[in-house]
C-alpha cells in the first residue's frame, strides 16, 4: 500500500466570474521514503491540490479521495486532520518569513510545535530537541540561535528553520511547496542538500511541488506534470526528462535555455495558459499545442505509454518512432514561416 494515494481529486471555487476549476481529476501515489515531484506553471493546480489534501483550502468544493496510510484525509474532521498535520505530515512553504511567526523566538516556535502534539514532552526536552534539529539543518551555533527571532535569520536560515520545524515530529511525509523558489541558487543548493540528508536518515517521503525542472531533476524519483488542473504526464524521472510523450512536457523542456552546448534560439510555448473558468473543449493544451489535430477536441484520458508506470493524457501515438516522425514534420512546418520572414 502506498503511503499517500490520491484518487480522482477535484477542487473548484465559486468566484464572481463563474466556477473556477482548479484541480480536475488528479491521481497520484507517494511511496514510503520516495520523492514525488509535482511540476507545473502558475495556475496548474499543483499547490491547491496538496493544500486541499491537508484541509487548508477554505470555501472549495472538493471531491475524490486522499488515503494516507489507508485513511481518507478528505473525509476527516478538522480535529482529526490537526493530529496528522505536523505530526505525521510536515509542511514547508515558499515564503519562510510568512510561515514563521515574527513575534516569537524560533526555538519557542519549534518547542510549541513539539509540545502541541505530545504533551508528555517537557519544555526542557523539547528545547534540547529544537537545538538538535537546528544543528541538523546546518544552523551555526544552534544553542544560541535558538533564542533568535525569525528576522535575525537570513532567508536561507529561515527556510532551514522551517524544515527543522516540519521535521520536529519525525513526520513520515513531508510536503514541500516551492521550498527554494524564494532563495538564491547557492542557498537553494544548501536547502536541497539538507532535505536529501534528512530523507536518507529518516526515510521521509517527500512531495516536492515546484515550477523548476532543475529542482525536479535533482530531487524527484517520480514526476507528475500538471497543466490547467490536470495531470498531463506521469512517470519516473528519467522517462519524463528523456522519453516524455506529452507535448506539454516536451514544450516545457524545450523552452529552457540549455546550460551547455550551443546557444540556440529558445523554443517557447506559444500563447498562454487557459482561464480556469472558461476552459477550452477537450485537451486543455490544445490551443498551444503544435501537434493538435481533430481528435484533440475530445478530452484525452491518461494512457499507458510503453510501460505501466508511464502515463500521458494525449492522443498522440504511443509508438515512439511515429511520434518522432510527427515531431520532425511539425518542426519543419514551424521553420518555414521564420525563414520566409
Amino acid at each position: 500500500m502506498a503511503l499517500l494515494e490520491v484518487e480522482d481529486l477535484h477542487v473548484s471555487f465559486r468566484t464572481p466570474d463563474g466556477v473556477l476549476q482548479a484541480v480536475r481529476g488528479l491521481n497520484f501515489k507517494v511511496e514510503e521514503g520516495k520523492t514525488l515531484g509535482i511540476v507545473g506553471e502558475s495556475g496548474s493546480g499543483k499547490s491547491v491540490s496538496t493544500q486541499t489534501i491537508m484541509g487548508l483550502t477554505r470555501g472549495a468544493r472538493v471531491s475524490g479521495t486522499a488515503r494516507f496510510q489507508g485513511d481518507d484525509l478528505l473525509a476527516m474532521s478538522s480535529r482529526q486532520l490537526q493530529g496528522i498535520r505536523g505530526a505525521k505530515v510536515g509542511m514547508i512553504f515558499q515564503d519562510p518569513l510568512s510561515s514563521l511567526h515574527p513575534y516569537y523566538r524560533v526555538g519557542w516556535q519549534i518547542v510549541e510545535m513539539i509540545r502541541s502534539h505530545d504533551k508528555h514532552v517537557s519544555r526542557q526536552q523539547a528545547r534540547t530537541r529544537a537545538i538538535d534539529l537546528l544543528r541538523m539543518v546546518g544552523i551555526p551555533q544552534p544553542d544560541q540561535r535558538v533564542h533568535d527571532f525569525p528576522h535575525q535569520f537570513s532567508g536561507g536560515m529561515r527556510q532551514r528553520a522551517m524544515i527543522a520545524m516540519a521535521m520536529s515530529l519525525n513526520p513520515i511525509l513531508l510536503i514541500a511547496d516551492e521550498p527554494t523558489t524564494a532563495l538564491d541558487v547557492t542557498v537553494q543548493a544548501q536547502v536541497l542538500l539538507v532535505m536529501k540528508r534528512l530523507q536518507e536518515e529518516f526515510g521521509t517521503a517527500i512531495v516536492m511541488i515546484t515550477h523548476d525542472l532543475g529542482v525536479i531533476a535533482e530531487m524527484a524519483d517520480e514526476v507528475v506534470v500538471m497543466y490547467a488542473g490536470k495531470v498531463m504526464e506521469h512517470g519516473d524521472r528519467n522517462t519524463i526528462f528523456y522519453e516524455q510523450h506529452n507535448p506539454y512536457t516536451e514544450g516545457l523542456l524545450l523552452s529552457l535555455p540549455a546550460y551547455g552546448g550551443e546557444r540556440e534560439r529558445l523554443v517557447p510555448i506559444p500563447g498562454q495558459p487557459p482561464s480556469l473558468i472558461t476552459l477550452p473543449e477537450g485537451c486543455p493544451f490544445r490551443p498551444r499545442c503544435p501537434y493538435a489535430f481533430d481528435k484533440c477536441v475530445e478530452e484525452p484520458t491518461p494512457i499507458e505509454v510503453g510501460r505501466a508506470t508511464h502515463t500521458s493524457a494525449c492522443w498522440l501515438p504511443t509508438d515512439t518512432r511515429r511520434r518522432k516522425k510527427l515531431r520532425q514534420e511539425v518542426l519543419a512546418a514551424e521553420a518555414l514561416p521564420a525563414e520566409a520572414k
Binding site: E41, S42, R135, M136, V137, G138, I139, P140, S154, G155, G156, M157, D184, V185, T186, V187, Q188, A189, Q190, L192, L193, V194, K196, R197, E200, H211, D212, L213, G214, V215, I216, A217, E218, R237, N238, F241, G251, L252, L253, S255, L256, P257, A258, Y259, G260, R263, R265, L266, V267, P268, I269, P270, Q272, P273
Partner: protein, 359 residues
C-alpha cells in the same frame, strides 16, 4: 580593451554607500551599507553584458547608479562619450531618451489605472516628442514591434497576462529607441514557457534596433543564453568578468565556480554527474564587509593572504586579457574545490557542521 568609439558605457571605480539609519542618541549615522564598492567595466555597443550575483550583491544598486536614479558616492559613469556621473536631474533628462530600464515585476511597474496606450505614450509626452494622432501612431507602432495587438491601445494592464504585461514594459522602454536598456530581472517573475517568449523578443529587438543591454538576472542559465560577456558580483564587488564561454567553462573565482555548480540542471544525468560546491553560511553583512577578499570567510580555498589583501581584478592563470578574476588562488581547469579545506583558522571563517561535503 577596445576602441573607445566602440564603448557605449563605461563605469569607473563606482562606489555607492547608503547611510544606515542611526539609532544613537544624536541620530547621526556613522555606518554605511557598502552596496557597490569600486566597480569598473565597459559595455560595448550592441553587446549584452550579464550581471549575476545573489541577493544583496549590489547588482540592482549598480543598475540604478548607471541609470542615475541614485547619486554616486564616488566614481565616474561615461555614457556615449559624456561623463554623466554628476549631472543634475534636469541635465540628465536628454540622456534618459537613450537609456531605459525594464523592471522585474510586470504587475508593480505598470499603473493599473491607466490605459496601456497612455503608459507607453509617456516617454513621448515627457520628452515632448509627439502628440495627438502622431503619438498614437508611434505607440501602436512600438506595440506591434513587441508583439502586442495595436488595437489593445485602450485596455488596462489588468486585461493582460503576465507575459503580455512584460511586453508593455518592453514597449515603454523602447518607445524612444534608446541606445542602452538595463533589464533588471526581466523574466524572473514569468512562467518558463512565457520566459522563453520574452527572451526571444529581447534578442530579436537587439538585432533589429542595434540595442545594447545590461541584463541582470539571478538565473544563470538565462544569463548564459542572452549575454556576450558576464560580470559575477559578490558583496558589492566584481568577482569575475569575461566572455560568457570563458567564465562558464573556466570559472576562476571560487565564488563563480560555486555559483555555477549550484544551478539546478534540468537534466538528471548531468545533475548526478557533476560535483556540487556547497558554500557554507550566508553572505556577510554589507555594513562591515570582511577584510581582504570579501569572500574569504566562505571560501573553500581561503588562505591568510586572502584576509589581508584585496585581490585585483586581473587575468589569472593562462586566461586571455578580457577574462579577469579577483582571486589570489584561482581555480585551475579541472580542479575540484568541493572537498578543499581552507587554510584559515576557524575564527576567520564560517563553520557549519551540517553542510560539509557532498551527498
Amino acid at each position: 580593451m577596445s576602441d573607445t568609439d566602440d564603448v557605449l558605457l563605461s563605469v569607473k571605480n563606482v562606489v555607492k554607500y547608503f547611510p544606515v539609519q542611526a539609532s544613537g542618541l544624536l541620530g547621526r549615522s556613522k555606518e554605511f551599507v557598502h552596496a557597490v564598492d569600486d566597480v569598473s567595466f565597459e559595455v560595448r555597443r550592441g553587446e549584452t553584458l550579464g550581471l549575476v550575483g545573489e541577493t544583496g550583491c549590489g547588482k540592482s544598486t549598480l543598475a540604478r547608479c548607471i541609470m542615475r536614479l541614485y547619486d554616486l558616492t564616488s566614481g565616474t559613469i561615461t555614457f556615449d562619450g559624456k561623463d554623466i556621473s554628476s549631472l543634475s536631474v534636469r541635465q540628465m533628462r536628454p540622456f534618459r531618451r537613450d537609456m531605459q530600464m525594464i523592471f522585474q515585476d510586470p504587475y508593480g511597474s505598470l499603473n493599473p489605472r491607466r490605459r496601456v496606450g497612455s503608459i507607453i505614450g509617456d516617454p513621448f509626452a515627457i520628452h515632448g516628442i509627439a502628440d495627438g494622432k502622431e503619438r498614437k501612431r508611434r505607440v501602436q507602432e512600438v506595440m506591434e514591434l513587441v508583439g502586442l495587438n495595436p488595437e489593445h491601445y485602450n485596455r488596462f494592464p489588468a486585461e493582460f497576462s503576465g507575459g503580455q504585461r512584460q511586453r508593455i514594459g518592453v514597449a515603454r522602454a523602447l518607445a524612444l529607441r534608446p541606445k542602452l536598456i538595463v533589464c533588471d530581472e526581466p523574466v524572473s517573475a514569468l512562467d518558463v514557457s512565457i520566459q522563453a517568449q520574452i527572451i526571444n523578443l529581447l534578442a530579436d529587438l537587439q538585432d533589429e534596433l542595434d540595442l545594447t543591454y545590461i541584463f541582470i538576472a539571478h538565473d544563470l542559465s538565462v544569463v548564459r543564453h542572452v549575454s556576450d560577456r558576464v560580470a559575477v558580483m559578490y558583496l558589492g564587488k566584481v568577482a569575475e568578468l569575461g566572455e560568457v564561454e570563458g567564465v562558464y567553462a573556466h570559472a576562476r573565482h571560487p565564488y563563480s565556480a560555486a555559483l555555477l555548480s549550484a544551478i539546478p540542471l534540468p537534466d538528471p544525468a548531468s545533475a548526478a554527474e557533476r560535483e556540487r560546491i556547497i558554500l557554507v553560511g550566508d553572505v556577510p553583512s554589507p555594513i562591515a564587509p570582511p577584510s581582504g577578499c570579501r569572500f574569504h570567510p566562505r571560501c573553500p580555498k581561503a588562505k591568510d593572504r586572502c584576509v589581508q589583501e584585496d585581490p585585483d581584478l586581473v587575468p589569472r592563470l593562462d586566461d586571455i586579457e578580457t577574462h579577469v578574476a579577483a582571486c589570489h588562488f584561482p581555480v585551475a581547469d579541472g580542479e575540484n574545490i568541493a572537498d578543499s579545506t581552507p587554510e584559515l583558522s576557524a575564527d576567520k571563517r564560517i563553520v557549519e557542521e551540517g553542510l560539509v561535503g557532498n551527498v
